[in-house]
């Protein structure tokens, strides 16, 4: 469903953020994306989200190719991708509930759909009591969970979760991970970028991809095939 074919992303002064990476994520697959700070994890997610175009190579997502996709198609594609941004990207002048509802409103969802979905998702990330709080009235971890709720609101085909537990304690981390696994079981693919090696080690049956200075240096799925 998602495939990167020899993708390189070069930034003017900083050089290659992603270098000749090829990988495939199948429908309904769960995958960790690890690597040191600056390894290129977020860049790969932005490439899948078509927020960046590869310098060379091709990104294919749900039938669209980065070489031919048109602006309107990007908008439609993004409705199938739930992106939990590393820096949250919440609107400061809207409450938690409004931030989640916003993603539905601007893609033309019906009011009654919004009314039922938003409270349910906030409850799932453990923020039912903070629905009416502005981001400035939330703790770091609470903001992170709002971002996660928004990523899930479109019932996406794939969730890109960029360091979704960096500001969370162990219990909340477990909660988010369980939620993602639950969603994964109903057929949604998940790509989870994280530095939390404890979390990775605690789930040895989940596929792990490791980046190092933009290069793909380890893919547990490929290892399995090889061995």
């Amino acid at each position: 469903m998602i495939s990167l074919l020899h993708v390189t992303k070069t930034y003017p002064r900083t050089g290659d953020a992603v270098a000749d990476v090829s990988l495939t994520l199948n429908k309904g697959e769960f995958c960790f994306l690890t690597g040191h700070s600056g390894a290129g994890k977020s860049t790969i997610m932005r490439l899948i989200h078509m927020a960046e175009r590869p310098t060379s190579g091709e990104v294919r997502v749900s039938g669209y190719s980065s070489t031919t996709i048109r602006p309107r198609e990007i908008a439609l594609l993004r409705r199938k991708i739930g992106y939990c941004f590393q820096d949250f990207r919440l609107l400061q002048d809207r409450t938690a509930a409004e931030n989640v509802a916003f993603a539905l409103e601007v893609t033309g969802a019906k009011p009654q759909v919004i009314r039922t979905k938003v409270p349910r998702l906030l409850a799932q990330v453990g923020l039912a009591s903070k629905a009416e709080a502005l981001p400035s009235q939330l703790s770091g971890g609470e903001q992170q969970r709002v971002a996660m709720a928004r990523a899930l609101v479109h019932e996406p085909l794939v969730v890109l979760a960029d360091e979704p537990t960096g500001n969370l304690d162990e219990r909340a981390t477990r909660g988010i991970f369980d939620l993602l696994q639950h969603i994964n079981q109903s057929g949604t693919a998940v790509l989870l970028a994280t530095h939390n090696l404890e979390l990775v080690r605690a789930n040895p049956d989940v596929r792990v991809i490791e980046l190092d200075h933009g290069r793909l240096v380890y893919d547990s799925a490929a290892e399995e095939v090889r061995s």
Partner: protein, 285 residues
Amino acid sequence: MTYSLREALVAFRRAPLLAGVSAAMIALSLFVVGLFGIVAFNIRKVIEGVEARGEVVAYLRDTASPADVQALRHELTGVAAVREVRYVSREEALQVAKEELSEFSAVFGSLDSNPLPASLEVRLKPNQKGPDVVRSVAQRIGANPAVEEVRYGNEWLDKVFLLRSVAATATGVLGAGFAVVAILIIGAAVRLAIFARREEIAIMQLVGATNWFIRKPFLLEGLMTGLLGGMLAALATWLSYSVLTNAVFTVVWIPDSWVVGGILTGGALGVVASWIAVRRHLRVA
């Protein structure tokens, strides 16, 4: 549409300052245009008033017989452009001169003979008062042997029409200048509005809103801001007109159609400026 409308309204509530400044700038621009409209409309009225007077006076020779005069009157009444011909006798002329030049009534009183000639005052039809028509009628009258001299205020008329063409030129130059300034200011205001909401636009794009959907509330906001600005401008223009006409000199209020046109122009300016500004922004993003 409900979403766009609500967002556009919310934008006013959320950034009343910004919306206010935008509307004020549109208002200011249209206010200047409005003041200019009053001036232009009043110049037009003055010209029309002057034209309405437009008449030709034929001074008759003392040797002209009543029959000659009658024939000339008849001939003139037949000319297409002429509305009315009035005969002023020598006595009547002296009477008028005594009244109009009262300072010199002693002079006229001590006269032993009346030095003033009789005359025919020819009035033209309302739509036949251009300088060319007046001149041709005057020449035709002047050709009659019973007429000693023809006056038609040619200098005065020429001056009025010069004034009109100068005013038209000034309208063109100043009007165009103000329009350009207005568009620049409105464009800047809308780009400021978008600048203030760039976060929101960025997130809309990230969660999959189409460009058209993003654009709509801004266009609606531009429309409403423009209409508001237009109405403010109309109000300000009317207030200035009231102050002016009461305190300094009497001017005429512009026609209602101009007012409505101005307000709609405000709305149109708002939409167009929003369109350009949003389009540019969405292209960059």
